[in-house]
Point group: D2
Chain length 403, copies 4
């Protein structure tokens, strides 16, 4: 029992197979579509799945019972990072957001029937899904308790009404996990329930696909309307009114898997910059002979190593069965900002080429920005981190001043 950063031989092998898959099969596809999933036909996704299956790295996060590798959080980390080296790597492994987090949630909370209907085809890559939580102002945004979408009991089940946006993957999804208020008022810290709703249900409308800075997510980000969408009692995921708690179940690990994938993207940006610095001539020498370029390269390494160490630290805590709210907030905040810095520095090293969509840096620059916002903006996480520290400190101070 001691600190260890050693992966099992199986995990090392899976990581290497993933890296090879990404290099040989995925990057060419990414290059062809210039990192935009909007332009990639669905059959390409299926083809990438097949390649991942052939490489034995399909669905690494899913239990064996559902056809996955059953890796725990720590073991996922290097595999997801290797997948994240390409914007489409997670698509290949069927571990991209939001499907991956949805699978995690369904495996943890859904009934056997729900799992057969939704998780099994999702894990197999036969269908896609989305997670419908975020709402336009004044609804649920960085403050999820502002939830305004409602689900009302009917004789036959529930009827959902509401307005959602920035729902990643909705275009093309077979079903959505919908967060709706079943009791209380916007602002209340409970009263939410999760529902499994088929996207072809009457009243379930995709209003539009929102044009955003990023474009690598399958299905993009959509605006949805729920106009008297009827669902049965079987559509309730877990228990009624426990939606915020399940959101936490989903979010802790989902934050970390986001971090893993984006760390792979950062690694790639850093590699591109390093290769340019090592080979491009300028000012009578190599670009990489210049101290300021060396500083950019070194700071990339520092950010990457610190990010990886924090991810592992958080995963260890999650695997140990802890909720890990503090460490996942810390890791998410650091990694999201570090990844942004790495991509920004790498683009700077590459100069005009970095601005061009010829190199993937411009695409990476567009993609990673949102990560400081979704899964909790950095400010919300900092607030939560500080609050936990200050509460604990306040308690200690109060105890110590008690005679």
């Amino acid at each position: 029992m001691a600190i260890s950063f050693e992966h099992s031989a199986q995990v090392v092998a899976a990581t290497e197979r993933t890296a090879a898959l990404v290099r040989e099969e995925v990057l060419p596809v990414e290059r062809h579509y210039r990192g935009s999933a909007h332009d990639m036909p669905d059959e390409v996704r299926v083809r990438l799945h097949d390649a991942a299956r052939a490489a034995g790295v399909f669905a690494p996060h899913v239990g064996a019972r559902f056809g996955g590798m059953g890796l725990d959080m720590r073991d996922r980390a290097p595999v997801f990072e290797a997948a994240g080296y390409s914007l489409f790597g997670p698509v290949a492994l069927n571990c991209s957001a939001p499907d991956e987090g949805n699978m995690h949630l369904l495996e943890a909370v859904a009934t056997r029937t729900q799992q057969d209907r939704y998780l099994r085809p999702l894990a197999a890559g036969a269908i896609r899904s989305c997670f419908a939580m975020t709402e336009p102002a004044p609804g649920a945004g960085s403050d999820p308790t502002a939830l305004r979408t409602t689900a009302t009991r009917t004789a036959a089940g529930w009827v959902i009404n509401g307005h959602k946006w920035f729902i990643t993957g909705a275009h093309g999804a077979r079903f959505a996990i919908v967060m709706a208020r079943t009791s209380g008022e916007p602002g209340d810290r409970d009263g939410a329930t999760m529902f499994l709703a088929d996207t072809d249900a009457p009243g379930f409308t995709r209003v539009r696909d929102i044009d955003t800075l990023d474009s690598a997510s399958l299905g993009g980000h959509s605006e949805l309307l729920f106009d008297n969408v009827e669902v049965s009692d079987d559509a309730v995921l877990g228990e009624v009114d426990r939606g915020f708690a399940y959101a936490q179940v989903r979010l802790g690990p989902a934050r970390m898997t986001h971090c893993m994938r984006w760390l792979g993207a950062a690694r790639r940006a850093a590699d591109i910059a390093a290769e340019r610095a090592a080979t491009r001539h300028a000012f009578g020498g190599k670009l990489g002979d210049l101290g300021m370029v060396q500083q950019l390269v070194a700071d990339n390494e520092i950010d990457i190593e610190a990010s990886r160490a924090l991810i592992y630290r958080a995963c260890w805590e999650l695997d140990a069965g802890e909720r890990g709210a503090q460490i996942t907030s810390v890791a998410k905040t650091f990694v999201a900002e570090a990844v942004g810095r790495v991509v920004d520095r790498s683009l700077q090293v590459c100069g005009a080429l970095g601005i061009s969509e010829d190199a993937p840096l411009a695409a990476l620059y567009r993609e990673v920005r949102a990560f400081r916002i979704y899964d909790g903006p950095s400010e919300t996480h900092r607030w939560a981190i500080a609050r936990r520290v200050l509460r604990a400190t306040g308690r200690t101070a109060a105890q110590e001043s008690t005679p």
Copy 2:
């Protein structure tokens, strides 16, 4: 004779007219084309020119002789900033890069004949131009002395051969100012000459328009080939072999006008964020009641005020007839980074909406990134700034240690 930050009544009025023009005429156009000049037909440019003429703010930087307002650098500053509030404001005023810098250069260096042929229609907005200096590796990039494009004397004049890229505005330009080596070898600190070349000259090929992170520049950024392009002796701008010196003539002011325009963009991003913070509710209050949001808002103000003060400082020096190499490097480096920070913070304040192309923040985020690279990457400027300081210091130290 004392420090003053006061503008003349005429300049204040021109600034206000520009602001009104941008608000009423330009922003609607920008919104319609989502900030992309690629999709904007040329007649819209002409229409915007007419509106600017009607407002009496057309071509503020151009001498009255050529139909402009003849403002010096200090007086340009607030007008260009007001124009920069929209990505298309400088287009309306006919003061966007690279035309604006080219007009500046032509007014300073060109012969009367050259001015009549190129400057006059350019200043009138009848034609557009480009400045062909940057080359793909291993040519002229952040190190301009690596220039490889050559111009060789012929009986009739000169023949130009070379390869250029990231030439802003080339698509649609009537002529280019081409930097070519007329003596010496790549790496030599002189031997460059500027040529005025018509874009329809035989051998002058626009290979492709490069897809880049930004899209608000008229004509985008193109790759050009010069394959035995013949130009006459009249095509030489200024004197032979003095191209690097003229580049400096152009670059000092051009750096500052870039700063002015982008400062306007930063102001706009900050305004959008402030409005959102002042009006959006979250966590039981206004977004702007949250200390971390206040910090983002305050840091925007600080960056904007410091940027503006530095721009004025540099312009004063340029107007006083100084070369201003150090202060324009200082100002350009600071402003380019400050503008980037302001846009980044503003996007963060706006959360998911900031990522959406619904708001202009995503577009601003894409547009401003390159400013840390063109007109000299921050690293090159820092190197130049330090070198000047260290040389002066070294001289002083040497003198003091001399008995």
Copy 3:
């Protein structure tokens, strides 16, 4: 009427005389006492005053009527910066805090009788003073309205009771300007009055001199007790209950003069670092040949130029009779942080020598830290800056949404 950064010939000459005085007379004294005013006998102060008088730069901020040079804020800026090049330069010119701010306040608000008694000898350097506002928790700190010291009316005048600390210059001061509550409760935004109290008044006790990180302030920072200190009606400075307003009168300019002096300190630190970089050999070349050292040197220049431009900007506004609350907050926040960065970088360039008290960098490092805290912590200024922006924005937004 246009932007100008030009100083009058008189100001340029005064600046040069100050620089020469500092170099020749003040720096040797500073070196001798290693920057600690605690160890410097008062006669040295008097001697430095004489040297400044001989150089014609004594009391630059004081009206001619009281023996000073009568410079406005803009003209003070370069002179104070030149004085601040040494930690003891402002002492020599009799323009160090808190005396300088007190003179400013007395000149603006005091009665003729009060001016004769307090301002005249203070301006002449015959006595020293202090400004007694800050209190230990839960009293007036970064939130001045928490003021708990009280002044109660008596038949003969007023009696003051309270506890103050971090009162700079109290040790050795002849009198104090004391902020006391004459109406309302702690937390109220008015009800404070300023009193002129002699430090040898019965009940006025200097409890102790607080040992602090810095040591260059004359008289250090002390803790004071006011135990039924009786003062006459003549001791009221300005009007009763207007103390918070006068504090603002004092603080705006005082913030800027602090900035000017500390900018001089930053300039000195940067010069030391540049000289070391220009002359020290390491890794087979000059230290200054290394890109990362160049970056430190360049960032120093950028911070210094931006600081100076912001100071001038704020001074121009103050001289124009504006209250300048926003711009002085912006400038103070930026300059306090920039000065800290410059000193930190300069120390880093000097390595072990920077840590040694042999070089003045360690002393500068200790001295400048507090500037991010006094005259309003950076956080308080940011809050105030954001609040002003958001209020203005909110008003505009409200107007625009009004039909």
Copy 4:
């Protein structure tokens, strides 16, 4: 075999005993001497040693054979961090620099005879030592190969001549490990040898104790002269001419133990700030209710968690028998800067109190600054980090371009 951050029960217990020791025995001593080891008599050190022995946590890093606990790097980490919570904690455990690193080196490289003579009493706390490497310019500084101190062979052994400074702990040390050039010229990357020299040897002079920003190191930092100091052949540590290699043996782990100790100091600063934020009232609430204060508190947590994770990562690699040059450079650079940030933020949270030597923050602020300089300045580490990345990248690029 998987990632683990779990310590053994023994290590957890030792950490808790260390924390209790620090809280109950060490902090009162630190407070009494205000963190200055200069004023602490040697018998206090001995008394603290006895307390650590009684607590069973004396010499955690030393092999059992020499009376220590024999903890490997990973197990040292939490114990050293707990010790570092007080500036004198490492003194109590006999694991402060430079003794701790010297013990490490002697245990790894010294002969049995040398170990009996030097290591045994050092490990027992009976004597102190120093490590004499750094020289004034133009000698060995951040570039160790500039080494100018020489050791010349004589019939009887060696004679050492040279000038050293910033030699920590020299005042009061019984012996020094002296780095001297035995072959080659300054600038050569080998030719150095380590010697064990008694400080009372003829010609071994402590010129002066250098006054520095920090004051918590036993014996401070001294300037030494070696004037024909004669040592026997037995004084050679390890092999002749292998000094630079041994310096690396010492430096990798020494970097990490420095990080561990300073992380404890950062934790303490953060705790003080958190307690103040949780209890101090301002602006109508708790200080910790303010978002900007929360940001400072949260960023402290993020920096501390990232630092700790990186330290563990590096220790794991060192314990695995790797040289760990890259990861220890990464961790050292990050931790040194993170610790500085944490102390700076904590001081800011505490306002005027932070500046006062009443609270330990001012002392911590003075102490931690040098850590960005010794054991390799951040710039040197960044250069080394980048160089390794770029070499590896260059090799890969070269291979790939080979047909």
